[in-house]
Amino acid sequence: MTSSWSRTAALGAALCLGVATQAAPPDAAHWAYQPLGFPRPPTVPGRPVGNPIDAFIQARILPAGLPRAPEAPARTQLRRLSYDLVGLPPRPEELDAFESACAVDPSVAYAREVERLLASPRHGERWARHWMDAAHFAETHGHDQDRIRSNAWPYRDWLIQAFNADMPYTRFVQAQVAGDVLFPEDPFATVALGFIAAGPWDESSLRDIREDTLDRQIGRYLDRDDMLATVMSVFTSSTVHCARCHDHKFDPIPQRDYYALQAVFSGVERANRVFDPDPDVHRRRQELLHRRRQLDRGDSNLLHAATTRAAVDAWRVRNVTAPVEWQELATQTHIPTATGVLTRQADGSFLASGTTPERDTYTVLAPAPSGRVTAIQLELLPDASLPFQGPGRQSLNGNLHLSEFRVLAHPPDGGAPRVVALVNPTADFNQEGWTIAHALDGDEKTAWGIHPEEGKAHRALFELKEACEFPPGTTIAFVLHQLHGGGHLIGRFRLTTTGAPGPHRAIPAEFSAWAHREPSSWTPEQWTRLAGHVLREDLRRELAALPTPSLVYAAAADFDPDGSLRPSLNPRPIHVLNRGEITQPRDEVGPGALSCVAALPARYRVPDGAEEGARRALLAGWLVSPDNPLVWRSIVNRVWHHHFGRGLVDTPNDFGRMGSAPTHPELLDWLAVWFRDEARGSLKALHRLIVTSATYRQSVRTTRSGAGDPDPDNRLLAHRSPIRLDAECVRDAMLLASGRLDFRMGGPGDMQFDLQPGIHVTPRVDYTRFDLDSAAGGRRSVYRFLFRTLPDPFMDALDCPAGDQLTAVRNNSVTVQQALALWNNALVARQAEHLASRLETEPGTVESRIGRAVVLTLGRPAASEELRELVAYARRHGLAAGCRLLFNANEFVFVD
């Protein structure tokens, strides 16, 4: 008795992530896909229209016959506002000042606090963390090879900056989907692409296993699935990822839409991507990289451009019509080596003979040439005495391996030799995987080779990093390490130098037969090859001249290959997969978006040969269109969720039929349109509107509701519901109280664990062996290094997500693990000690210190009964023990 799937499907072939229940037909008239209305706020006769939010909310409360809660006490309001806007409690002085100011003019005082908090750099830190949840950001790959991503953090910093600078939402969305294409002048728009790469990545499937396996293909589809699910869930609150195996069962999302979205991302991988903080350098490098990709694609416009012809002419002058002259070295000696014998030949070369040792190092000494030296040439020459005419001595083929080439200058006074730095190594031929660059890489395990082009002369050129004139009497030592083994030694070679200005590049052997002829006589194929070579050489030089770039782990189409993870020159073709099976591809689909948004085109025309970024740019345009109702409703609902603990739609990632309906649909639409048109996408304006509403400022209910409460879940918002602080707020508030909070911003994540190499890729991570008092222990929680499969157990117990699922709404659990963590974790125990020491440095009594501790943790003066109990307790067990209790109090972890 087996499932039908297992009988029909090939091994490892299916991708289906379906849903479990029977469906009614999808409904195109569902609220979420309807164009945005702009309902007028309801009015109540005899009442002025205040904040429109209150008008919408009250219009529902009044008919329900619910009493409205009064405005919360001043201290409560400021504590709530402060946690919401900056993620930290107010300091006691701020509370006192606010309370006094409220006695004069509460609305002015409150407005002033709102502005102060919105302007605080702490604001971006608070809201970036919400966005990191949504994007399932973490700094390791997840899966079985949970490797550290050292360059993920710039995206976190970009978020903080974006929220602090109140970046308009349109740009915020565009940057994270296609910032590289849409804002080429802004280097940090490239950093924003960290959004697409924020989620987990299966290194085994996508880098390590064989390219030709089904597992690799499955890995790619699943990886793009995560990218598109991230973009669409976060920006449109739709569950398009449920349409992978079949049309969406509940929402009007056909399977083809899903694969059209796969096609949007089929040109990118997750990888370290270069950017340059200096906009000019950034633009220049991106131009060069773009040109390199054009070349890789064989772009004929580029190959036949006037600038290319000029470059080829210049190359011919340098290499063919007026080639550089190479000077032979004066009297040379050599240091005899291993068992071989080097004999000087009439042409100035050395010929090896005698027993061939496994490995060897040749050292040639010569007086430094007079005048400037800009480059060194190493010629390998065939010889009848060598196996297969050489030029190497390897007995089976005449190959050789030059592991390292080093040049040292011995000063005339006999002092210590100086290393002559060499750069830009080139050779006329490189054996695959054994390029000349290996002769300068400092790694003796890698080397230059010439197989299968043995039996011919070859040459390699090395430029001096800085041209130099050696003082007379200097001796130059040329050291040729040949350490690969197996007799891979040079048979015959000659060393020469030049002082001519560079660049000095070896002409590839393939050109030598015809490059001296006039270009007009070349075949088109020859032109393509030589022009490509020249342009590539120029590109390499120009790129090398730019400052070292920065890296961000982001969506990337152009990056350094890592194992078998290589950039794809063109977007990979995407097929609709029947039932989601990799073995059942159907028609190929082009890029597009959701067809259920009737006002916008759902398929994109991208010109042939366009860079993949064009696809992402089109999707970004679709997302931020004023006519896309999903996007505007989605963001105002997310912001509402974070201010009230629940969205107007309480499934912020699902506006489909399986999600919830909005409790206040008119308010949702009004907010969306207001945010789009009036606030012009200013999130700070949206915060301001919400937090200054009477609805936001009311108090929690302090009496038990009767049995007939028409709104036991408080969906109508007739009062506030308390909110349990999230993990970051709990930790940051403890550090603030203890005096340990360090406000340094940005940079690599703080590893709050002991890190040791693991057995394989995943390191060993021990949170209990972290020095809490070290510099990495004091910064705000948003800067913690986030390990996907090994999350911090303390934060985990407080429902901090590990970055493996998109988290629109955090769990808000109350568990035994959480009680154990707050009661016993070293972090809490240590902050309690710090708080106690801080209090003990100030003059006072146990009473005054406990009173101060209560203010610092709970934001209010201590009541007499609790003060008495806490003081008695602190007298018996110490002040630190008392502080530990306060960190465990319900009132500390809940906000009214």
């Binding site: 499932s3 890995g219 693991g758 972890v893």
Partner: protein
Amino acid sequence: MAFPLQRPGPIPTRREFLGRLGAGFGSVALAQLLGAERLLGGEAGSGARPSPHPARAKRVIQLFMNGGASQMDLFDHKPALFRHAGEAFDPGKGVRVEAPTSEPGKVLKPPFEFRQHGQSGRWVSSVLPHLSRCVDDLAFLMAMQSRTNVHGPGSYLINTGFLLPGFPCLGAWTSYALGRESDNLPAFVVLPDAKGLPYNGRGNFSSGFLPVSFQGTVIQSRAADASGSGPGGSNGFLLSDLSAPPSARYITPASDQDGLAVLQGLNRRHQEAHPTDSRLESRIQAYELAARMHLSAPEVFALEGETEATRRLYGLDNAVTENFGRRCLLARRLVERGVRFVQVWSGAGGPTGNWDNHANIVKELPPMCAATDQPIAALLTDLRARGLLEDTLVLWNTEFGRMPFAQSSEGRDHNGGTFVGWMAGAGVRPGVAHGESDEWSWKAAHDITTTYDFHATVLHLLGLDHERLTFRHNGADRRLTDVHGEVIRQVLA
């Protein structure tokens, strides 16, 4: 360091406590806290409904061989591998042969002798002498099938039902559905190899989008020479945050005891001012439960309380079997005390020291067998002797199998095409073997058990319908079995 149980009044029973609370915002939190017992009848945001059939198993011990245990070197006897050893692997014309990390090599014959055992006549190789005496108690799934040949997705699939991270594992679903039997211990406990966590780290024990209270509570075991009491545990076992760190010298048993009383006083006064939020009451209860757990854990860990005969049975007197044996014995003590689901891991992630034997079967596989064989047989014997096998389900699993052909010359690459697992105990028909692989043990051929079928069967034994145990998340009613799965009735008693 004692965690106090003193409080101003008598502790209400759970039922009294539930009765006190009205429905409302906090009921979800309360259900989570108490392990979502079905007393709340599905109010806890869950689609789970009462079971349509009685449960045969009340609890589960899953023994997990991390890395991909080689089926054809242990249980899946294939004469063809002996006959064609050293030949090119040729499963038929035009059939594509691929291996995930290597070029397919020649047919590799199992380097161990195979014999039939018990009345059921099951084939077991010579590296599992103890288990071969238990085969009449076991129901073998001889043709299990994965969807991948890669560790990360493979481990996720057999633990959580999905190839991707972020989904709840079998243990989490079980504790979510059935709650805890004990107030003093977590519902779901994981005992990783002393050498480290398996592939995917804690991702394999995650509660995914289910509340965090259903995730596996990890009890680390220290190496044999480091046993003894320490922070957060005893007897070489460590449960994080069970006790305050020794560095916090100001925390003493007395300060804990007095402190909880003061704290609960503070919390009660605060709660009186917030009568509508039952999470506050739940939190007060959570501290009481934490105190109970603190008290009961050392007793659970006290393996020295076992008889010498029992300790020898599990191989605690032998360095080879000592670590896995201690964890098997602890698993028995945990289920005896009401833990629902215990997962015992053999092997950490990484290239060696586990069941991922790429380099050399004859050198790498026997040590893994030697470390686990006697303890596993002991666990079965001990559970039976105590009558626990009646309602305890024992599972032996791995994420996938291995290839019939060689990697390099003496190892084997990953093979999701077919592999073996077995079940024993509650509700399981003993002495049967279900399914068959092809003549090479390359692909599952008849009566295939997908990971979904396996999960459906385990849930069935626990009295749960895998199609009805659901949780709404990001637009889908998620199941352990996704949209698949059929109960394998042939292995049911």
